[in-house]
């Protein structure tokens, strides 16, 4: 489902100028956003970006200091009581000393549009451990139990806060396959993550959050293009004309370090490029012979800094 086809429908989630302050920290800062039916949305940001606070506000676990949060046009609590929201919290605790089946049974009993317990267990892939005590589970198994609680009933919106924390690669893949089934049934899915790859693979829309503000809102491809800058480093021997290097295409930043003023010295050049292939190609085109060439992706944290810098440059 494309976003253009659904913008006219009532928003599943609507944030209007929402702020939440802890002491001097603005965890969420004037956030305005709308989620539409059927979207799979990733809330992407580094640790401390305000992802968890945003989800807590959405779920009514926290109250905004200013602005309004609406879920299906009502308060978060009303939406939950109506059984429209299923949620999985980051490291959300579970009830100890009961079995997986008993706990999921409780989740079903507390959901107005509950599925059968056996179905919920099967879908979450925990039928085999149904009789195990909750406090005897591995981290990944506990995550699946939390997922089962979030999908105990026919909710229209599923909210997941860093759901794959503590899972190994195969568990992660299996988890997202299960999650995709949920999305394919027409549900709106919102998940927080700090993995760009996860957002890229799963979401059809990515919201980038940084310091409590919405930095970017677009398809994963658009975000990747924005955050997809690469870091290129190489050494050049002899005379280096910095002005020439600055003329390289797709450059976003460059620094040249001099190891000595004398001829025959080695200069280390570090640059960032939005199209590393083209930049390196042009480098050779200049007749230069870069040594120890390294091309690497930017970490998400650096990508955010790059996007932030770009946004600020645009505003000024």
């Amino acid at each position: 489902m494309t976003t253009t086809a659904t913008v006219t429908a009532a928003p599943v989630v609507g944030f209007d100028q929402v702020s939440k302050v802890y002491g001097s920290v603005r965890a969420v800062d004037g956030l305005t956003l709308a989620l539409h039916p059927g979207e799979t949305v990733a809330l992407l940001g580094p640790n401390g970006a305000g992802k968890s606070t945003t989800l807590d506000l959405l779920l009514g676990l926290k109250h905004a200091d200013s602005g309004t949060v609406r879920v299906f046009g009502t308060s978060p609590r009303e939406a939950i009581v109506a059984g429209r929201v299923g949620a999985m919290l980051q490291s959300g605790g579970l009830m100890d000393e009961v079995t997986v089946a008993e706990l999921v049974g409780l989740g079903c009993a507390l959901h107005p549009k509950a599925y059968k317990v056996t179905d919920v267990l099967a879908r979450a892939g925990i039928s085999q451990i149904a009789d195990r005590k909750v406090n005897k589970l591995s981290g990944g198994q506990a995550q699946r139990v939390r997922f089962a609680l979030a999908t105990a009933g026919d909710s229209d919106l599923i909210v997941l806060d860093e759901p794959t924390t503590g899972m190994d690669v195969s568990a992660r893949q299996a988890f997202w396959a299960t999650m995709r089934e949920q999305a394919d049934q027409g549900r709106t899915v919102l998940f927080a993550t700090h993995y760009l790859e996860e957002a890229d693979a799963i979401a059809d829309r990515v919201l980038v959050l940084h310091r409590g503000r919405l930095l970017a809102d677009g398809t994963a491809a658009e975000i990747k293009a924005k955050a997809g800058a690469r870091r290129v480093a190489f050494d050049l021997e002899g005379q280096v004309d910095e002005a020439t290097l600055r003329g390289l295409p797709f450059l976003t930043s460059i620094s040249v370090s001099n190891s000595g003023p004398a001829e025959g010295s080695v200069h280390t050049v570090r640059l960032q490029s939005s199209d590393a292939d083209a930049t390196v190609h042009a480098l050779y085109g200049l007749g230069l012979y870069p040594r120890n060439l390294e091309v690497a992706g930017l970490g998400l944290e650096q990508a955010f800094v790059a996007i932030t810098a770009a946004e600020e440059a645009k505003q000024s």
């Binding site: 779920l59 009514g60 676990l61 926290k62 109250h63 939950i80 009581v81 059984g83 929201v85 299923g86 949620a87 919290l89 490291s91 959300g92 605790g93 579970l94 009830m95 100890d96 000393e97 009961v98 008993e102 706990l103 049974g105 409780l106 989740g107 009993a109 507390l110 959901h111 107005p112 939390r146 609680l149």
Partner: protein, 243 residues
């Protein structure tokens, strides 16, 4: 909410250690402490019937205070309380389910002491007295259930056990549940008579003596109930806003 009560109860009944200390242990102390014959000074009650009320009260206190305070503090910390807030369970449902399941365990802890006292120590009371005693001690345990909830909301997961233990033993011993408080020095007796546990056992003994409970004892229990329940409600609200 019934589903949560059922699960809380199943969990409590599965916990052998908890069941031992709340249901079996009071009867064991009863047998040890009621070995003397004769009466307790100033009450006209036999040692056995005096200690029976003490231990029934102690058992009920254990059942409602010990499990809940620790569970609430730990489940608040682990995030289970938050997870429950994402369900249709009404806000107070969590505390009510905890209290209800504790009340189900406290009833056998009272009755088992009575059965042991009647069968082994020949304690004999009128039928109405047995019923009134059961009802009074059961209902009175609500005071301490509210205290348990309040402790659960005030203490952190690490601190909750020692805090509960200090309050539990303090209330049990100073309130005269273990030894008659009239053996205490006078200054301690003056303090002890204002404790809710002292009033709790005193109400039971008044029923054994075929008397109406003293207004002061009932008053103390009511005041403490309002204090603990009010405190628990306030702390619960504070915790909800913070979480």
């Amino acid at each position: 909410m019934n589903s949560l009560i059922k699960l809380e109860l199943a969990r409590a009944l599965r916990n052998r250690k908890f069941l031992f200390f709340s249901v079996i242990y009071p009867s064991v102390i009863f047998l040890l402490a009621s070995s003397q014959t004769g009466t307790v000074d100033g009450t006209g009650l036999s040692v056995a019937s005096y200690v029976m009320v003490s231990m029934a009260s102690f058992g009920a206190l254990t059942a409602v205070l010990m499990g809940n305070s620790e569970r609430i503090a730990k489940e608040r910390e682990s995030g289970w309380v938050r997870q429950l807030r994402l369900t249709t369970l009404p806000g107070r449902g969590y505390v009510l389910a905890k209290t209800a399941s504790a009340a189900v365990v406290s009833l056998p802890s009272i009755v088992v002491v009575f059965l042991v006292a009647a069968a082994v120590k020949d304690v004999r009371l009128e039928a109405w007295q047995w019923l009134a005693l059961t009802g009074a001690i059961w209902a009175g345990s609500l005071v301490f259930a509210a205290l348990g909830v309040a402790i659960g909301y005030i203490a952190s997961g690490d601190a909750v056990r020692p805090i509960t233990m200090i309050i539990y033993f303090g209330l049990s011993i100073l309130g005269g549940l273990w030894f008659p408080s009239n053996g205490f020095p006078q200054w301690l007796q003056d303090i002890a008579k204002w404790l809710p546990t002292h009033a709790y056992a005193a109400v039971g003994r008044a029923i054994e003596q075929s008397q109406a409970p003293h207004a002061q004892d009932v008053g103390i229990l009511v005041v403490f109930f309002l204090l603990f329940a009010g405190g628990a409600a306030w702390l619960y609200r504070k915790d909800t806003l913070k979480a």
